[in-house]
Amino acid sequence: MIEFRSVSKRFPDGTLAVQDFSLVLPSHKTTVLVGSSGSGKTTLLRMINRMVDPTSGSVAIDGEDIATLPPVKLRRGIGYVMQNSGLLPHRTVLDNVATVPLLRGTPKRQARADALVLLDTVGLDRALADRYPGQLSGGQQQRVGVARGLAVDPNILLMDEPFGAVDPIVRAELQQELVRLQKDLDKTVVFVTHDIEEAFLLGDQIVILREGGRIAQVGSPADLLARPADDFVASFVGADRGRRVLHVERHGAEDVVVDSDGRLAGVLNGNPAEGDR
């Protein structure tokens, strides 16, 4: 469990990135921080591995205030995946995945063997093991990034817009992979994105942030859709534009689903047995 206790962060240039933020992120769940730029979502994420230290307030992991832990040791125990993968360009794919275990003193042979297995886990061909990151596609690099994040089998996985820079098709693929992985691995995932669709797909708990890290609403995707706290949330999840408000229209023998703009959203599958056919 990760706990933010009235955390604020003012950067040296005077920007108040986060103001009096309190939240509990339950273990073994995916919490998604959603907001536009300037909402402080990345700052919040970076507080969890002490890349950013709060100006006031504290962050606790399983009840322990992390300000008391040495940052380097803390970071080696937390998986971190960032946009543009952040891989080391001068290390092969395999060595990139093995980075953190090697830093923690795992013998090289062992670390590399484990890294090969992780390539399988994230759906990468082992033939890529000896390539350099610059020789991979954006999607492949992100997979390597995820594998690296998982390498020490951390309880907590921090993901900072990890799929933000890949094209929509690859992104959808990676999102599905993550859903599958999370089902098996059961990590405490903290995911930052500005894409509400991504948040709905991945999040158990979604936190919608206003500017300055103020919470607009916390809840499950269903909560946010069905009962948006205010116009800001409604607009963020798209409920105000009628894209989320659907009704059924009869077209000949079929029922089709239409949103309030009249845009076709899909076909109603009233009979599950028929759908399985």
């Binding site: 890349m51 380097v72 971190y80 960032m82 953190v100 350099y132 610059g134 020789q135 690296r148």
Partner: protein, 225 residues
């Protein structure tokens, strides 16, 4: 040509002298410039002081420096140490800026992600920043190597033997072939040093070589033309 053939032994001996005088400054200046360049990049105040100091150092003419050094550090006027120290200073003057620029050239994202996954400042410098500034360092070191090989010849004027002695001797005795031989071998030696560094760079920085030709998103048919 007959002079050259008759004096191959002499040319070889001077070449070896030359190598012995050139190598230490190149290595030493790199080792000294490394912490200085790091310091120059690290703090704004030290940056101004170190980089300006290094620039001024390079402006000191070499011949007077060869004469002044013995007085300052107490070596003999004809000691090869004078040449080695003077050329180390010139190398440092060039390399400090190169090291600082090289460290600057490391992608901020990579640096941050290295910290985020748990590199300490120390291990990040040696395992991430230093290797990634390799291409810039190599470019600087190549300039230093070539200029050092050429500057060693000036030492001949104060009596420190090197390929430069072939110039001074050739001038004094009017042997043109000796002067030309000295010149050609010096240039040749500079090329050998340069080639050696390029080769070392390829061995030490395989990612740099392999990544270049297969940049993603470049259509194959475009690359063929």
């Amino acid at each position: 040509m007959t002079w050259v053939l008759a004096n191959l032994g002499l040319i070889w001996a001077r070449t070896l002298d030359h190598v012995v005088l050139s190598l230490p400054p190149i290595v030493l200046c790199f080792l000294i410039a490394l912490p200085l360049g790091w310091l120059a990049r690290r703090y704004r105040i030290s940056r101004g002081i170190i980089l300006t100091g290094a620039g001024l150092l390079y402006a000191v003419p070499s011949l007077p420096l060869f004469f002044v050094l013995p007085a300052v550090i107490g070596t003999g006027l004809r000691s090869p140490l004078n040449v080695i120290i003077a050329l180390t200073l010139y190398g440092v003057a060039l390399m400090v800026r190169v090291v600082s620029d090289g460290l600057d050239s490391v992608d901020a994202d990579v640096r941050q992600s290295a910290s985020a996954v748990g590199y300490s400042a120390w291990s990040r410098f040696w395992q991430v920043e230093l290797p990634l500034s390799g291409p810039v360092l190599l470019a600087g070191l190549r300039v230093v190597a070539v200029s050092t090989v050429s500057l060693v010849t000036v030492g001949a004027v104060i009596g420190v033997q090197s390929l430069g002695s072939l110039f001074t001797d050739g001038f004094q005795r009017g042997i043109q072939a000796e002067i030309i031989a000295g010149l050609v071998v010096t240039v040749g030696l500079a090329l050998v040093f340069d080639g050696g560094l390029v080769l070392a760079g390829r061995v030490l920085m395989p990612w740099n070589r392999r990544a270049a030709p297969s940049k993603p998103n470049v259509p194959v048919e475009l690359r063929a033309t």
